[in-house]
C-alpha cells in the first residue's frame, strides 16, 4: 500500500471507530492488497495451513499403510523354525557357490601362472 492510500483510509470519516472500525480497516487493507495483485497475509496463512494439512494427511495414510503388516505364513513355530533353517542352508549354499567360484578362478590363475613360469624357466 502506498502512503497516499493509507492517508485516504485515515481520512475516511465513514469508517466507524473502535474494534469494529479496526476490523473494517483490516478488511480494507486486505482488499487493497488483493486488488494490487499481492496475496494478503491471511491468504498466505490459509495456503500454508492447507498445504501442511495435505502433507500431514498423506504422511498419516502412509504410516498407517506401512504398519499394516502381512499375515504370518506359519501358525506353528516349529514349522517356521524349519523354514528359517532352510533359509540359512540356502544362504550357506550361496556362500559355498561363491567360494567354489573363487577356488576355481584361483586354480585357473595358478595353472596360468605355472605355464608362464615354465615358459620363463625353459
Amino acid at each position: 500500500m502506498t502512503p497516499e492510500e493509507l492517508e485516504a483510509i485515515s481520512n475516511d470519516t465513514t469508517l466507524p471507530a473502535g474494534s469494529a472500525g479496526a476490523k473494517e480497516l483490516i478488511a480494507k487493507l486486505d482488499i487493497a492488497q488483493e486488488v494490487k495483485g499481492r496475496p494478503s497475509r491471511r491468504l498466505y496463512v490459509s495456503w500454508i495451513s492447507g498445504i501442511a494439512a495435505t502433507f500431514i494427511l498423506m504422511l498419516g495414510i502412509g504410516i498407517a499403510l506401512q504398519n499394516r503388516g502381512p499375515k504370518d505364513t506359519f501358525d506353528d513355530p516349529e514349522l517356521a523354525y524349519a523354514q528359517v533353517q532352510e533359509v540359512f542352508s540356502r544362504i550357506g549354499a550361496g556362500v559355498q557357490q561363491g567360494k567354489d567360484a573363487v577356488d576355481e578362478s584361483g586354480q585357473l590363475i595358478t595353472s596360468e601362472m605355472e605355464k608362464t613360469i615354465n615358459k620363463l624357466t625353459r
Binding site: W47, G50, I51, T54, F55, M58, L59, G62, L65, Q66, G69, P70, K71, D72, T73, F74, P77, E78, A80, Y81, Q83, V84, Q85, V87, F88, S89, R90, I91, G92, A93, G94, V95, Q96, Q97, G98, K99, A101
Partner: protein, 158 residues
C-alpha cells in the same frame, strides 16, 4: 498456481519418503499367481526362540539369532512370471537403501547376489536374490543380528 505446484511437490515428497522395502515387495508379489511366498513376523521369531528344542551347537547359538530377527520375507517366482520385474525392483531397493554387496556369483546363466546393511557388530538387513534357470528367489530379513552369530550359522550351514 503456486499453491498447486507446492502441494504437488509436497505430495511427491511424502510418497517418496516411503521407499521400497522387503515388506513392500512381499506385499506386491505374494498374492500373484504361481508365486510361493513366506512371511515370518517378529512375534513368531520370539515364539521360535522359546521352543524347547536344542537350537544350537557348541559354537552356534541359533536361538539368539532367531530372537533378534524382526521379519523375514521370502518370494519364489517362476521365471515365466514377473521374475524379471521383481529382480529390477530389488535392484532399485538396493540402490535406494544403504545396502552393500556381500557377495555375488554367476555361473552359466545362474546368478546369486547377497547384500547387507550392517556395521562392525550388527547386521540390520539382509537381502539375497537368486536367479536360476527356472525361478527367481528373493529372501530378505531385518533385525539386529550379531554379526558373529550370523557368520557362524552360515558357515555351519555350508
Amino acid at each position: 498456481m503456486k499453491k498447486i505446484i507446492l502441494t504437488v511437490i509436497l505430495a511427491v515428497l511424502s510418497v517418496s519418503a516411503f521407499a521400497q522395502t522387503g515388506k513392500s515387495l512381499y506385499e506386491k508379489y505374494s498374492d500373484l499367481e504361481g508365486v510361493e511366498a513366506v512371511y515370518i513376523s517378529s512375534a513368531m521369531f520370539k515364539l521360535i526362540g522359546k521352543l524347547p528344542v536344542d537350537m544350537g551347537t557348541d559354537s552356534v547359538d541359533i536361538g539368539r539369532l532367531v530372537r533378534s530377527l524382526k521379519g523375514m520375507y521370502i518370494l519364489n517366482i517362476p521365471n515365466s512370471g514377473p521374475a524379471s520385474q521383481l529382480a529390477a525392483e530389488v535392484t532399485k531397493m538396493i540402490r535406494g537403501g544403504k545396502y552393500e554387496l556381500l557377495m555375488e556369483a554367476k555361473d552359466s546363466g545362474d546368478r546369486m547376489q547377497m547384500y547387507t546393511i550392517s556395521d562392525d557388530n550388527f547386521i540390520r538387513s539382509f537381502v539375497m536374490l537368486n536367479t536360476d534357470g527356472d525361478e527367481t528367489s528373493f529372501i530378505c530379513f531385518d533385525g539386529e543380528i550379531v554379526r558373529e552369530d550370523f557368520e557362524k550359522v552360515v558357515l555351519e550351514s555350508m
